[in-house]
Symmetry: C2
Subunit: 311 residues, 2 copies
């Protein structure tokens, strides 16, 4: 799967993944009204509004970016109708040729991780059919349980040509509480926990190569470029999924450390900065009705900004 | 919420939580046939079988145990119908007076954790109504992202009288890869990562006391009793959710270290050992049709075995 991702990044000159993390307040009144008129001011109504909103944004950006990343928490919050909207969004994005990163941050003991892996990347035999539940292309995975919590995802990824991104150094302010602890690694060397996890990602990924990169990628926040540089060296073959650009503070020129010399190796996420662009001063000329055009303009601006990072 | 849990544990003399982690192969042929006849051999059929199976077990054990713990991965694997079965199981268990621990191991950056917290413990305003998505009583939380990934769950728990269990030392074989790393804590003292997380749990929990215990509990595997003893001392007010009893290897007498001197402080999980008891040699007399009676017998045996741990 990662070779397809890299091909699309090169073709579109855009190492960009659009975060489809809708909130009711990001959605223009007109769309909400349309959805609520049909389904009421209910979870079903919100779910319909999410889908209409996402689909308009997907239509507006699908020729510009390789991938979208719906954050499942935003949908799970609205229960079964919300998760059905997640499912519908994943399917719609794939129909439009986009690669879908399911941001689910799942992880558990081995046999349970295997169920999550089949839920998000694979499929489950029922009688003589295989039922694919959410069928994203990549899923994000939490490493706190160690190898036996991560490997079931890798096995399914290898079987079904999918991929994963393992949380290594997250973008949030308190990520350091655990991730920056200085610990002794298996060789007795003192290193931060995120570097030790980075070495595990490199090791796990070596068995899942697809071209020059591995289907086992990593999450490293744009907010931590120094740590990103160290991790780039440790995880040579991992694509780094980089959240925290824009809304969380990062800028294109800060992101050089996340890329390899081949101009690849990073996939930068922006969520609110793209999907809620219409609410920003700089895109106000589009107005609420043309919100998807504002998103398109924000993607074009981001694409230009990111050239400083990898060219 | 934890005071209600402790009250039920005392009343029923059973620090037991039954893991409702169904797999098609755990479900007797008769139940599967009934569900497939109605919904086909589909995800909907499996979901219906899960519900019929869970409901029979809930009926058979609800007077004996305080709580059940559905593992959401088992349901997520079957997509929207599976998650609807999770929802229905949570509701059914609550109707029968049981406390429900949602084993979801969620965790993300702050604003996203807030969405997960509302999804699993709280509710979301839509217009003038609050929609509760899954509405468990407790949810399990992954601490890898640090305080700002955990605190939104605690805020919602405090607001809505719910609780959480934070993963500290998990029961799986490779849990030590990260959790046992020796690191320097904030005072420069060398300690394993799980102890540092244990201290965070103690700190987080001090602001969420409910009687003698905190609504912030911890997960520590039965398979690691020594670590359990150390963590019991560090997290005096946390109820420890203990997976790994039975199927994963633990025994009642091994679990002493997880309890406090008041006979409380631990909630021991058994999943397969109870729900699939009918498939075991020792309960074979019940046969497939009386599978729920086999589960009841397994709970009674577990209750007796656990007395060695806390009496």
């Amino acid at each position: 799967m990662v070779s397809r991702l890299n091909e699309e990044i090169r073709k579109k000159e855009a190492p960009i993944v659009v975060g489809l993390d809708p909130k009711p307040e990001f959605i223009p009144e007109g769309i909400r009204k349309k959805a609520y008129d049909e389904f009421g001011e209910t979870a079903e109504g919100v779910a319909e509004a999410f889908c209409l909103f996402n689909e308009a944004i997907i239509d507006a950006v699908c020729d510009l970016v390789p991938a979208v990343k719906p954050q499942i928490a935003m949908y799970e919050q609205f229960g079964i109708p919300g998760l059905a909207a997640f499912d519908r969004t994943v399917r719609y994005a794939k129909e439009k040729g986009l690669i879908v990163v399911g941001d689910a941050k799942r992880g558990d003991i081995g046999s349970t991780s295997a169920s999550y892996a089949e839920a998000h990347l694979g499929g489950t035999r029922i009688g003589d059919k295989t039922v694919r539940a959410f069928d994203e292309d990549f899923v994000t995975v939490n490493p706190y349980l160690g190898s036996d919590g991560v490997k079931p995802f890798i096995e399914v990824a290898k079987r079904d040509n999918k991929g994963i991104f393992v949380l290594v150094k997250t973008s949030n302010p308190s990520s350091g509480e655990l991730q920056d602890l200085i610990a002794r690694d298996s060789e007795g060397k003192e290193r931060p926990v995120y570097e030790i996890v980075g070495s595990l990602v490199d090791e796990w990924g070596s068995g899942a190569m697809d071209g020059d990169y591995s289907d086992v990628g990593a999450v490293v926040g744009a907010t931590y470029p120094e740590q990103g540089a160290a991790l780039r060296r440790i995880m040579k073959h991992a694509v780094i999924l980089v959240p925290g650009y824009g809304a969380q503070g990062g800028k294109g020129s800060d992101l050089k450390p996340f890329f390899n010399e081949d101009g690849l190796g990073a996939l930068v996420n922006s969520s609110r900065g793209i999907i809620a662009a219409w609410r920003e001063e700089r895109y106000s000329k589009y107005g609420a009705e043309a919100f998807a055009d504002a998103s398109r303009a924000a993607v074009i601006a981001m694409r230009e900004d990111l050239r400083q990072a990898y060219e």
